[in-house]
Protein backbone atom coordinates (compact mmCIF):
# COMPACT_ATOMS: atom_id res chain seq x y z
CA UNK A 1 0.00 0.00 0.00
CA UNK A 2 3.04 2.25 0.18
CA UNK A 3 3.56 4.35 -2.91
CA UNK A 4 6.92 5.74 -4.02
CA UNK A 5 6.83 9.43 -4.74
CA UNK A 6 9.66 11.21 -6.52
CA UNK A 7 10.68 14.47 -4.82
CA UNK A 8 12.92 16.94 -6.65
CA UNK A 9 14.53 20.10 -5.25
CA UNK A 10 14.13 23.02 -7.63
CA UNK A 11 15.85 26.35 -7.44
CA UNK A 12 13.58 29.21 -8.35
CA UNK A 13 14.73 29.82 -11.88
CA UNK A 14 13.01 29.84 -15.21
CA UNK A 15 13.13 26.59 -17.14
CA UNK A 16 14.19 24.33 -14.30
CA UNK A 17 10.87 22.44 -14.27
CA UNK A 18 11.04 21.86 -18.03
CA UNK A 19 14.39 20.20 -17.61
CA UNK A 20 12.86 17.63 -15.26
CA UNK A 21 9.89 16.89 -17.49
CA UNK A 22 12.12 16.77 -20.59
CA UNK A 23 14.38 14.19 -18.94
CA UNK A 24 11.44 12.02 -17.96
CA UNK A 25 9.68 12.36 -21.31
CA UNK A 26 12.81 11.34 -23.19
CA UNK A 27 13.05 8.21 -20.99
CA UNK A 28 9.42 7.34 -21.73
CA UNK A 29 8.33 7.83 -18.15
CA UNK A 30 4.73 8.88 -17.65
CA UNK A 31 3.56 11.32 -14.99
CA UNK A 32 0.46 10.22 -13.12
CA UNK A 33 0.26 13.08 -10.65
CA UNK A 34 2.36 16.05 -9.67
CA UNK A 35 2.39 18.98 -7.32
CA UNK A 36 4.84 21.75 -6.45
CA UNK A 37 5.44 23.18 -3.02
CA UNK A 38 6.77 26.66 -3.59
CA UNK A 39 8.54 28.93 -1.13
CA UNK A 40 10.13 32.28 -1.84
CA UNK A 41 13.55 30.67 -2.24
CA UNK A 42 13.01 27.24 -3.77
CA UNK A 43 10.43 24.70 -4.82
CA UNK A 44 9.89 21.00 -4.20
CA UNK A 45 8.41 19.03 -7.06
CA UNK A 46 6.53 15.90 -5.98
CA UNK A 47 5.52 13.37 -8.61
CA UNK A 48 3.94 9.96 -9.00
CA UNK A 49 5.48 8.40 -12.12
CA UNK A 50 5.19 5.14 -14.04
CA UNK A 51 8.67 3.90 -13.05
CA UNK A 52 9.97 5.68 -9.95
CA UNK A 53 13.27 3.76 -9.61
CA UNK A 54 14.25 4.41 -13.20
CA UNK A 55 13.17 8.05 -12.92
CA UNK A 56 15.28 8.46 -9.78
CA UNK A 57 18.37 7.18 -11.57
CA UNK A 58 17.82 9.39 -14.59
CA UNK A 59 17.28 12.55 -12.59
CA UNK A 60 20.25 11.85 -10.32
CA UNK A 61 22.47 11.42 -13.32
CA UNK A 62 21.14 14.67 -14.71
CA UNK A 63 22.36 16.39 -11.55
CA UNK A 64 19.10 16.96 -9.68
CA UNK A 65 18.73 16.70 -5.90
CA UNK A 66 16.09 14.00 -5.92
CA UNK A 67 14.80 11.38 -3.52
CA UNK A 68 12.06 8.77 -3.17
CA UNK A 69 9.49 9.43 -0.49
CA UNK A 70 6.89 7.01 0.86
CA UNK A 71 3.29 8.18 0.56
CA UNK A 72 -0.15 6.56 0.42
CA UNK A 73 -2.87 7.06 -2.16
CA UNK A 74 -6.46 7.03 -1.02
CA UNK A 75 -9.20 6.54 -3.57
CA UNK A 76 -12.44 8.11 -2.47
CA UNK A 77 -15.77 8.57 -4.22
CA UNK A 78 -15.92 11.75 -6.29
CA UNK A 79 -18.75 13.11 -4.12
CA UNK A 80 -19.09 16.01 -1.66
CA UNK A 81 -17.90 15.18 1.85
CA UNK A 82 -15.93 12.03 1.08
CA UNK A 83 -12.47 13.59 1.61
CA UNK A 84 -13.75 15.29 4.77
CA UNK A 85 -14.83 11.88 6.08
CA UNK A 86 -11.40 10.36 5.52
CA UNK A 87 -9.60 13.34 7.07
CA UNK A 88 -11.92 13.28 10.10
CA UNK A 89 -10.99 9.67 10.72
CA UNK A 90 -7.27 10.40 10.47
CA UNK A 91 -7.33 13.48 12.68
CA UNK A 92 -9.57 11.64 15.17
CA UNK A 93 -6.81 9.03 15.49
CA UNK A 94 -4.11 11.68 15.79
CA UNK A 95 -2.49 11.11 12.38
CA UNK A 96 -0.72 14.26 11.27
CA UNK A 97 -0.60 15.06 7.54
CA UNK A 98 2.52 16.75 6.19
CA UNK A 99 1.00 17.48 2.80
CA UNK A 100 -1.45 16.11 0.28
CA UNK A 101 -2.50 16.63 -3.29
CA UNK A 102 -5.31 15.13 -5.31
CA UNK A 103 -6.14 14.23 -8.87
CA UNK A 104 -9.03 12.64 -10.68
CA UNK A 105 -8.59 10.34 -13.66
CA UNK A 106 -12.03 10.90 -15.08
CA UNK A 107 -13.78 7.93 -13.47
CA UNK A 108 -16.18 8.39 -10.67
CA UNK A 109 -13.33 8.44 -8.17
CA UNK A 110 -10.85 10.95 -6.79
CA UNK A 111 -7.32 10.00 -5.81
CA UNK A 112 -5.61 11.68 -2.89
CA UNK A 113 -1.86 11.35 -2.33
CA UNK A 114 -1.07 11.73 1.39
CA UNK A 115 2.20 12.10 3.28
CA UNK A 116 1.24 11.23 6.86
CA UNK A 117 3.49 11.68 9.88
CA UNK A 118 3.19 7.93 10.61
CA UNK A 119 2.60 5.98 7.42
CA UNK A 120 1.95 2.53 8.93
CA UNK A 121 -0.60 3.87 11.39
CA UNK A 122 -2.31 5.79 8.60
CA UNK A 123 -2.63 2.68 6.41
CA UNK A 124 -3.97 0.56 9.27
CA UNK A 125 -6.58 3.14 10.23
CA UNK A 126 -7.78 3.73 6.69
CA UNK A 127 -8.03 0.01 5.99
CA UNK A 128 -9.87 -0.60 9.26
CA UNK A 129 -12.40 2.00 8.15
CA UNK A 130 -12.86 0.31 4.78
CA UNK A 131 -11.25 3.10 2.81
CA UNK A 132 -9.78 2.12 -0.54
CA UNK A 133 -6.03 2.48 -0.87
CA UNK A 134 -4.41 2.14 -4.29
CA UNK A 135 -1.56 -0.31 -4.76
CA UNK A 136 1.65 0.67 -6.48
CA UNK A 137 0.84 -1.15 -9.68
CA UNK A 138 -2.69 0.29 -9.94
CA UNK A 139 -1.41 3.80 -9.52
CA UNK A 140 1.68 3.80 -11.72
CA UNK A 141 -0.44 2.58 -14.64
CA UNK A 142 -3.20 5.14 -14.25
Amino acid sequence: MIIKQLSVFLENKTGRLNEVTDCLGAADINLTALSIADTSEFGILRMIVSDPDKALKILKNAGFAVSLTEVVCLQSPNTPGSLAKALDILSGEGVFIEYLYAFSNGNNAANVVLKPGNIQKCITILQKNKMKLLKEDDLYQL
Binding site: F9, L10, E11, E41, F42, K115
Partner: protein
Protein backbone atom coordinates in the same frame (compact mmCIF):
# COMPACT_ATOMS: atom_id res chain seq x y z
CA UNK B 1 40.52 73.90 18.91
CA UNK B 2 43.77 71.95 18.75
CA UNK B 3 43.83 69.54 21.70
CA UNK B 4 47.59 69.02 21.94
CA UNK B 5 49.17 71.78 19.90
CA UNK B 6 52.70 70.87 20.89
CA UNK B 7 52.45 67.43 19.28
CA UNK B 8 49.86 68.02 16.59
CA UNK B 9 51.67 71.02 15.14
CA UNK B 10 55.28 70.00 15.81
CA UNK B 11 57.79 70.34 12.99
CA UNK B 12 59.06 67.21 11.29
CA UNK B 13 62.38 67.03 13.12
CA UNK B 14 60.67 67.27 16.52
CA UNK B 15 58.18 64.53 15.60
CA UNK B 16 60.98 62.32 14.29
CA UNK B 17 63.03 62.80 17.45
CA UNK B 18 60.03 61.80 19.57
CA UNK B 19 59.34 58.83 17.30
CA UNK B 20 62.92 57.55 17.44
CA UNK B 21 63.10 57.71 21.20
CA UNK B 22 59.75 55.94 21.60
CA UNK B 23 60.51 53.39 18.90
CA UNK B 24 63.68 52.38 20.72
CA UNK B 25 61.76 51.95 23.97
CA UNK B 26 59.10 49.88 22.22
CA UNK B 27 61.60 47.59 20.50
CA UNK B 28 63.33 47.06 23.81
CA UNK B 29 60.02 46.31 25.46
CA UNK B 30 58.86 43.70 22.93
CA UNK B 31 62.32 42.11 22.67
CA UNK B 32 62.44 41.43 26.40
CA UNK B 33 58.74 40.78 27.06
CA UNK B 34 57.26 39.05 24.02
CA UNK B 35 58.94 35.71 23.22
CA UNK B 36 57.56 35.52 19.68
CA UNK B 37 59.01 38.94 18.81
CA UNK B 38 62.36 38.09 20.37
CA UNK B 39 62.47 34.89 18.35
CA UNK B 40 61.63 36.72 15.12
CA UNK B 41 64.39 39.27 15.76
CA UNK B 42 66.94 36.67 16.74
CA UNK B 43 66.25 34.81 13.52
CA UNK B 44 67.49 37.82 11.57
CA UNK B 45 70.24 38.67 14.06
CA UNK B 46 68.64 41.89 15.19
CA UNK B 47 68.87 43.31 18.70
CA UNK B 48 67.29 46.47 20.16
CA UNK B 49 70.72 48.13 19.91
CA UNK B 50 70.51 47.91 16.10
CA UNK B 51 67.70 50.47 16.05
CA UNK B 52 69.74 53.68 15.94
CA UNK B 53 67.84 55.87 13.53
CA UNK B 54 64.24 56.08 12.38
CA UNK B 55 64.97 54.44 9.03
CA UNK B 56 66.16 51.34 10.90
CA UNK B 57 62.45 50.63 11.38
CA UNK B 58 62.43 48.80 8.05
CA UNK B 59 64.91 46.25 9.42
CA UNK B 60 62.22 45.03 11.81
CA UNK B 61 59.95 42.12 10.84
CA UNK B 62 56.29 42.66 9.99
CA UNK B 63 53.46 41.62 12.29
CA UNK B 64 50.29 40.12 10.81
CA UNK B 65 46.87 39.24 12.20
CA UNK B 66 47.86 35.56 12.27
CA UNK B 67 50.62 36.37 14.78
CA UNK B 68 47.98 37.56 17.23
CA UNK B 69 45.91 34.47 16.60
CA UNK B 70 48.90 32.18 17.08
CA UNK B 71 49.43 33.79 20.47
CA UNK B 72 45.75 33.55 21.39
CA UNK B 73 44.67 34.88 23.76
CA UNK B 74 47.41 36.85 25.52
CA UNK B 75 50.66 35.64 23.92
CA UNK B 76 51.55 39.01 22.38
CA UNK B 77 50.91 41.03 25.53
CA UNK B 78 54.01 42.80 26.80
CA UNK B 79 52.62 43.94 30.14
CA UNK B 80 52.00 41.64 33.10
CA UNK B 81 48.37 40.69 33.59
CA UNK B 82 48.07 42.77 36.75
CA UNK B 83 48.70 45.88 34.64
CA UNK B 84 46.09 45.03 32.00
CA UNK B 85 42.86 46.85 32.84
CA UNK B 86 40.80 46.26 29.68
CA UNK B 87 40.54 43.55 27.05
CA UNK B 88 38.92 43.88 23.62
CA UNK B 89 38.69 41.42 20.75
CA UNK B 90 37.72 41.38 17.10
CA UNK B 91 36.18 38.52 15.18
CA UNK B 92 38.57 35.84 14.00
CA UNK B 93 38.70 34.03 10.68
CA UNK B 94 38.47 30.47 11.83
CA UNK B 95 37.55 30.36 15.46
CA UNK B 96 39.91 32.48 17.50
CA UNK B 97 39.36 36.20 17.69
CA UNK B 98 42.30 38.60 17.90
CA UNK B 99 42.65 39.82 21.46
CA UNK B 100 44.14 43.10 22.60
CA UNK B 101 44.88 44.34 26.13
CA UNK B 102 45.24 47.85 27.48
CA UNK B 103 47.12 49.14 30.50
CA UNK B 104 45.76 52.16 32.35
CA UNK B 105 48.21 54.34 30.42
CA UNK B 106 47.04 52.81 27.12
CA UNK B 107 43.44 53.72 27.96
CA UNK B 108 44.46 57.29 28.87
CA UNK B 109 46.32 57.61 25.56
CA UNK B 110 43.40 56.16 23.62
CA UNK B 111 40.95 58.58 25.22
CA UNK B 112 43.27 61.51 24.49
CA UNK B 113 43.75 60.52 20.86
CA UNK B 114 40.01 60.16 20.30
CA UNK B 115 39.50 63.54 22.04
CA UNK B 116 42.13 65.05 19.71
CA UNK B 117 40.21 63.67 16.74
CA UNK B 118 36.93 65.03 18.05
CA UNK B 119 38.53 68.43 18.53
CA UNK B 120 39.74 68.22 14.91
CA UNK B 121 36.10 68.02 13.79
CA UNK B 122 35.23 71.13 15.76
CA UNK B 123 33.65 69.32 18.72
CA UNK B 124 34.08 70.72 22.21
CA UNK B 125 32.74 70.34 25.73
CA UNK B 126 29.47 72.05 24.83
CA UNK B 127 28.60 69.19 22.51
CA UNK B 128 26.42 66.17 23.22
CA UNK B 129 27.62 63.08 21.40
CA UNK B 130 25.36 60.14 20.69
CA UNK B 131 27.42 57.00 20.27
CA UNK B 132 25.66 54.46 18.09
CA UNK B 133 28.64 52.18 17.60
CA UNK B 134 28.30 48.81 19.28
CA UNK B 135 29.51 48.58 22.88
CA UNK B 136 31.24 45.39 23.86
CA UNK B 137 34.30 43.48 22.71
CA UNK B 138 34.24 45.67 19.58
CA UNK B 139 36.36 48.77 20.23
CA UNK B 140 34.01 51.22 18.47
CA UNK B 141 31.57 52.04 21.27
CA UNK B 142 33.90 52.27 24.26
CA UNK B 143 36.66 53.94 22.23
CA UNK B 144 34.45 56.87 21.23
CA UNK B 145 32.86 56.88 24.69
CA UNK B 146 36.00 57.60 26.68
CA UNK B 147 37.27 59.99 24.01
CA UNK B 148 34.06 62.00 24.34
CA UNK B 149 34.37 62.07 28.13
CA UNK B 150 38.04 63.07 27.91
CA UNK B 151 37.04 65.97 25.66
CA UNK B 152 34.42 66.97 28.20
CA UNK B 153 31.42 66.46 25.92
CA UNK B 154 28.18 64.92 27.21
CA UNK B 155 28.22 61.31 26.12
CA UNK B 156 25.06 59.33 25.34
CA UNK B 157 26.09 55.65 25.26
CA UNK B 158 23.31 54.38 22.97
CA UNK B 159 25.19 51.49 21.35
CA UNK B 160 23.97 50.31 17.93
CA UNK B 161 20.50 49.36 16.73
CA UNK B 162 16.92 50.33 17.64
CA UNK B 163 16.72 53.23 15.21
CA UNK B 164 13.40 54.53 16.52
CA UNK B 165 14.84 54.92 20.00
CA UNK B 166 18.03 56.44 18.60
CA UNK B 167 15.98 59.17 16.97
CA UNK B 168 13.83 59.78 20.05
CA UNK B 169 16.89 60.19 22.29
CA UNK B 170 18.63 62.27 19.63
CA UNK B 171 15.76 64.76 19.52
CA UNK B 172 14.87 64.69 23.24
CA UNK B 173 18.45 65.07 24.47
CA UNK B 174 19.47 67.45 21.70
CA UNK B 175 22.47 65.44 20.48
CA UNK B 176 24.81 67.64 18.42
CA UNK B 177 27.21 64.89 17.33
CA UNK B 178 26.47 61.42 15.98
CA UNK B 179 29.11 58.67 15.98
CA UNK B 180 28.35 55.44 14.11
CA UNK B 181 29.07 53.64 10.85
CA UNK B 182 28.35 55.76 7.75
CA UNK B 183 25.75 53.30 6.50
CA UNK B 184 23.92 53.44 9.81
CA UNK B 185 24.02 57.24 9.69
CA UNK B 186 22.31 57.08 6.30
CA UNK B 187 19.75 54.67 7.67
CA UNK B 188 19.01 57.03 10.57
CA UNK B 189 18.73 59.93 8.11
CA UNK B 190 16.24 58.04 5.98
CA UNK B 191 14.20 57.01 8.98
CA UNK B 192 14.05 60.66 10.08
CA UNK B 193 12.79 61.54 6.60
CA UNK B 194 10.18 58.79 6.62
CA UNK B 195 8.89 59.77 10.04
CA UNK B 196 8.70 63.39 8.84
CA UNK B 197 10.50 64.65 11.93
CA UNK B 198 10.78 68.46 11.67
CA UNK B 199 14.29 69.68 10.90
CA UNK B 200 14.38 72.01 13.92
CA UNK B 201 14.02 68.98 16.25
CA UNK B 202 17.35 67.59 15.07
CA UNK B 203 20.28 69.48 16.60
CA UNK B 204 23.07 67.49 14.94
CA UNK B 205 26.03 69.48 13.57
CA UNK B 206 28.79 66.91 13.29
CA UNK B 207 29.05 63.23 12.39
CA UNK B 208 32.05 61.03 13.19
CA UNK B 209 31.82 57.97 11.00
CA UNK B 210 34.08 55.00 10.50
CA UNK B 211 34.58 51.22 10.85
CA UNK B 212 33.57 50.54 7.23
CA UNK B 213 34.51 51.76 3.75
CA UNK B 214 32.56 54.70 2.38
CA UNK B 215 32.84 57.17 -0.43
CA UNK B 216 32.81 60.90 -1.04
CA UNK B 217 29.36 60.46 -2.64
CA UNK B 218 28.09 58.86 0.53
CA UNK B 219 29.56 61.69 2.57
CA UNK B 220 27.68 64.24 0.44
CA UNK B 221 24.48 62.30 0.85
CA UNK B 222 24.81 62.07 4.65
CA UNK B 223 25.75 65.74 4.96
CA UNK B 224 22.80 66.79 2.84
CA UNK B 225 20.22 64.59 4.53
CA UNK B 226 21.30 65.27 8.12
CA UNK B 227 22.51 68.88 7.58
CA UNK B 228 25.83 68.11 9.26
CA UNK B 229 29.53 67.94 8.50
CA UNK B 230 30.58 64.29 8.23
CA UNK B 231 34.10 63.26 9.25
CA UNK B 232 35.99 60.04 8.69
CA UNK B 233 37.67 58.32 11.63
CA UNK B 234 40.18 55.49 11.22
CA UNK B 235 41.26 52.76 13.55
CA UNK B 236 41.62 49.06 14.11
CA UNK B 237 41.52 47.16 17.36
CA UNK B 238 44.99 45.65 16.90
CA UNK B 239 46.55 49.13 16.85
CA UNK B 240 44.24 50.76 19.41
CA UNK B 241 40.68 51.02 18.13
CA UNK B 242 38.97 54.05 16.59
CA UNK B 243 41.00 57.25 16.65
CA UNK B 244 44.31 56.13 15.13
CA UNK B 245 43.49 58.83 12.59
CA UNK B 246 40.71 61.38 12.22
CA UNK B 247 39.72 64.04 9.72
CA UNK B 248 39.89 67.73 10.57
CA UNK B 249 37.53 70.42 9.31
CA UNK B 250 39.57 70.62 6.08
CA UNK B 251 38.09 67.17 5.23
CA UNK B 252 41.23 66.37 3.34
CA UNK B 253 42.58 63.14 4.81
CA UNK B 254 42.80 61.71 8.32
CA UNK B 255 45.58 62.97 10.60
CA UNK B 256 47.49 60.09 12.16
CA UNK B 257 48.85 60.75 15.65
CA UNK B 258 52.50 60.33 14.78
CA UNK B 259 53.71 60.79 18.33
CA UNK B 260 52.04 57.42 19.05
CA UNK B 261 52.12 55.61 15.72
CA UNK B 262 54.61 55.40 12.86
CA UNK B 263 52.79 54.79 9.57
CA UNK B 264 54.48 53.36 6.47
CA UNK B 265 53.10 52.48 3.05
CA UNK B 266 54.38 49.29 1.44
CA UNK B 267 53.73 47.43 -1.75
CA UNK B 268 51.71 44.43 -0.50
CA UNK B 269 53.33 42.13 -3.08
CA UNK B 270 56.99 43.04 -2.71
CA UNK B 271 56.67 44.29 0.91
CA UNK B 272 59.00 47.16 -0.03
CA UNK B 273 58.17 50.78 0.83
CA UNK B 274 56.48 52.64 -2.03
CA UNK B 275 57.65 56.03 -3.31
CA UNK B 276 56.33 58.98 -1.24
CA UNK B 277 52.70 59.78 -2.08
CA UNK B 278 52.08 56.46 -3.82
CA UNK B 279 49.25 54.11 -2.92
CA UNK B 280 49.94 50.91 -1.04
CA UNK B 281 49.22 48.99 2.14
CA UNK B 282 49.27 50.90 5.41
CA UNK B 283 51.67 49.47 7.98
CA UNK B 284 51.64 50.85 11.52
CA UNK B 285 54.10 50.59 14.40
CA UNK B 286 52.79 51.56 17.82
CA UNK B 287 55.39 53.44 19.86
CA UNK B 288 53.71 54.16 23.18
CA UNK B 289 51.54 51.13 23.77
CA UNK B 290 52.26 48.95 26.79
CA UNK B 291 49.56 46.26 26.71
CA UNK B 292 50.24 44.97 23.23
CA UNK B 293 52.71 47.03 21.21
CA UNK B 294 52.86 45.95 17.57
CA UNK B 295 55.79 46.38 15.24
CA UNK B 296 55.10 47.07 11.57
CA UNK B 297 51.57 45.72 11.72
CA UNK B 298 50.12 45.09 8.27
CA UNK B 299 46.66 46.68 8.35
CA UNK B 300 45.76 45.37 4.87
CA UNK B 301 44.11 48.73 4.19
CA UNK B 302 45.15 50.38 0.93
CA UNK B 303 45.73 54.13 1.08
CA UNK B 304 48.20 57.00 0.51
CA UNK B 305 50.00 59.30 2.95
CA UNK B 306 50.45 63.07 2.58
CA UNK B 307 53.06 64.89 4.64
CA UNK B 308 52.34 68.50 3.60
CA UNK B 309 51.06 70.92 6.23
CA UNK B 310 47.29 70.94 6.51
CA UNK B 311 45.22 74.12 6.30
CA UNK B 312 44.02 73.39 9.85
CA UNK B 313 47.55 74.11 11.07
CA UNK B 314 48.42 70.56 12.05
CA UNK B 315 51.59 68.97 10.74
CA UNK B 316 50.51 65.39 11.45
CA UNK B 317 50.60 63.20 8.35
CA UNK B 318 47.27 62.66 6.59
CA UNK B 319 46.07 59.32 5.22
CA UNK B 320 43.52 59.20 2.42
CA UNK B 321 40.24 57.39 2.77
CA UNK B 322 40.93 53.64 2.48
CA UNK B 323 40.64 52.45 -1.12
CA UNK B 324 40.23 48.78 -0.43
CA UNK B 325 41.99 45.80 1.09
CA UNK B 326 45.04 43.79 0.20
CA UNK B 327 43.34 40.62 1.48
CA UNK B 328 39.85 39.18 1.02
CA UNK B 329 38.33 40.68 4.16
CA UNK B 330 34.91 42.23 3.68
CA UNK B 331 33.50 44.88 5.95
CA UNK B 332 29.77 44.39 6.34
CA UNK B 333 27.89 46.86 8.52
CA UNK B 334 31.15 47.59 10.34
CA UNK B 335 31.87 43.92 11.01
CA UNK B 336 34.93 42.21 9.55
CA UNK B 337 34.05 39.10 7.57
CA UNK B 338 36.50 36.71 5.96
CA UNK B 339 35.22 34.21 3.37
CA UNK B 340 37.26 31.54 5.17
CA UNK B 341 35.00 31.94 8.23
CA UNK B 342 32.01 30.99 6.10
CA UNK B 343 33.88 28.05 4.65
CA UNK B 344 34.71 26.72 8.10
CA UNK B 345 31.07 26.94 9.21
CA UNK B 346 29.95 25.00 6.12
CA UNK B 347 32.68 22.39 6.55
CA UNK B 348 31.61 21.77 10.13
CA UNK B 349 28.07 21.00 8.99
CA UNK B 350 27.46 17.63 7.38
CA UNK B 351 24.43 18.78 5.40
CA UNK B 352 26.15 21.28 3.17
CA UNK B 353 28.93 21.31 0.62
CA UNK B 354 31.74 23.83 1.10
CA UNK B 355 30.75 25.24 -2.27
CA UNK B 356 29.24 28.63 -1.83
CA UNK B 357 28.84 32.04 -3.33
CA UNK B 358 28.68 35.13 -1.19
CA UNK B 359 26.83 38.12 -2.58
CA UNK B 360 27.28 41.46 -0.89
CA UNK B 361 24.81 44.18 -1.77
CA UNK B 362 23.87 47.53 -0.39
CA UNK B 363 20.09 47.46 -0.21
CA UNK B 364 18.92 50.98 0.52
CA UNK B 365 21.62 52.13 2.87
CA UNK B 366 22.45 48.88 4.62
CA UNK B 367 24.79 46.14 3.54
CA UNK B 368 23.26 42.75 3.08
CA UNK B 369 24.98 39.43 2.82
CA UNK B 370 23.47 36.60 0.81
CA UNK B 371 24.99 33.15 0.86
CA UNK B 372 24.14 30.63 -1.84
CA UNK B 373 25.05 27.16 -0.69
CA UNK B 374 24.60 23.71 -2.18
CA UNK B 375 22.46 21.13 -0.43
CA UNK B 376 23.93 17.66 -0.34
CA UNK B 377 21.86 15.13 -2.23
CA UNK B 378 21.22 12.95 0.81
CA UNK B 379 19.97 15.83 2.94
CA UNK B 380 17.43 16.91 0.42
CA UNK B 381 13.95 16.47 1.80
CA UNK B 382 10.49 16.33 0.26
CA UNK B 383 9.22 18.50 3.10
CA UNK B 384 9.48 22.27 3.00
CA UNK B 385 9.89 22.55 6.75
CA UNK B 386 12.99 20.34 6.78
CA UNK B 387 14.68 22.50 4.18
CA UNK B 388 13.58 25.67 5.95
CA UNK B 389 15.04 24.27 9.19
CA UNK B 390 18.30 23.53 7.40
CA UNK B 391 18.39 27.12 6.15
CA UNK B 392 17.75 28.41 9.65
CA UNK B 393 20.46 26.17 11.09
CA UNK B 394 23.04 27.39 8.57
CA UNK B 395 22.00 31.00 9.19
CA UNK B 396 22.22 30.54 12.98
CA UNK B 397 25.68 28.96 12.76
CA UNK B 398 26.87 31.79 10.52
CA UNK B 399 25.39 34.40 12.84
CA UNK B 400 27.20 32.95 15.83
CA UNK B 401 30.55 32.84 14.00
CA UNK B 402 30.34 36.09 12.05
CA UNK B 403 28.21 38.13 14.40
CA UNK B 404 25.93 39.35 11.62
CA UNK B 405 22.80 38.03 9.95
CA UNK B 406 23.21 36.24 6.64
CA UNK B 407 20.43 35.53 4.19
CA UNK B 408 20.93 31.87 3.24
CA UNK B 409 19.70 30.50 -0.05
CA UNK B 410 19.83 26.77 -0.76
CA UNK B 411 20.75 25.81 -4.29
CA UNK B 412 20.92 22.55 -6.21
CA UNK B 413 24.05 20.43 -5.99
CA UNK B 414 26.83 21.21 -8.47
CA UNK B 415 25.30 24.50 -9.57
CA UNK B 416 27.95 26.74 -8.08
CA UNK B 417 30.72 27.17 -10.57
CA UNK B 418 33.85 25.07 -10.01
CA UNK B 419 37.05 26.55 -11.27
CA UNK B 420 40.47 25.05 -11.48
CA UNK B 421 42.08 28.25 -10.28
CA UNK B 422 41.20 30.44 -7.31
CA UNK B 423 37.47 30.05 -6.89
CA UNK B 424 35.33 33.13 -7.20
CA UNK B 425 33.60 33.05 -3.83
CA UNK B 426 32.53 36.62 -3.38
CA UNK B 427 30.55 39.00 -5.54
CA UNK B 428 30.60 42.47 -4.05
CA UNK B 429 27.92 44.53 -5.78
CA UNK B 430 28.35 47.55 -3.53
CA UNK B 431 29.46 50.62 -5.41
CA UNK B 432 32.09 52.00 -3.07
Amino acid sequence: MIWNEKMECADRSTIEAVQLERLKETVERIYYHVPSYRKKMQEINLTPADIKKLSDLTKLPFTIKQDLRDGYPFGMFSAPRREIVRIHASSGTTGNPTVVGYTRKDLTTWAELVARGMAMTGMDQNDTIQIAYGYGLFTGGLGLHYGGECLGASVIPMSSGNTKKQIKIMTDFGATVLACTPSYALHIAETIEEKKIPGEDIKLKIGIFGAEPWTEAMRNQIEEKLHIKAYDIYGLSEIMGPGVGCECTAQNGMHIHEDHFIPEIINPKTLEPVAPGEEGELVITTITKEGIPLIRYRTRDLTKLHYGKCECGRTLVRMERCKGRSDDMLIIRGVNVFPSQIESVLLEMSETEPHYLLIVERIGTLDSLKLMVEVQQQFFSDEVKNLQNLRKKIAANLKSTLGIAVNVELVEPKTIERTSGKAKRVIDKRKL
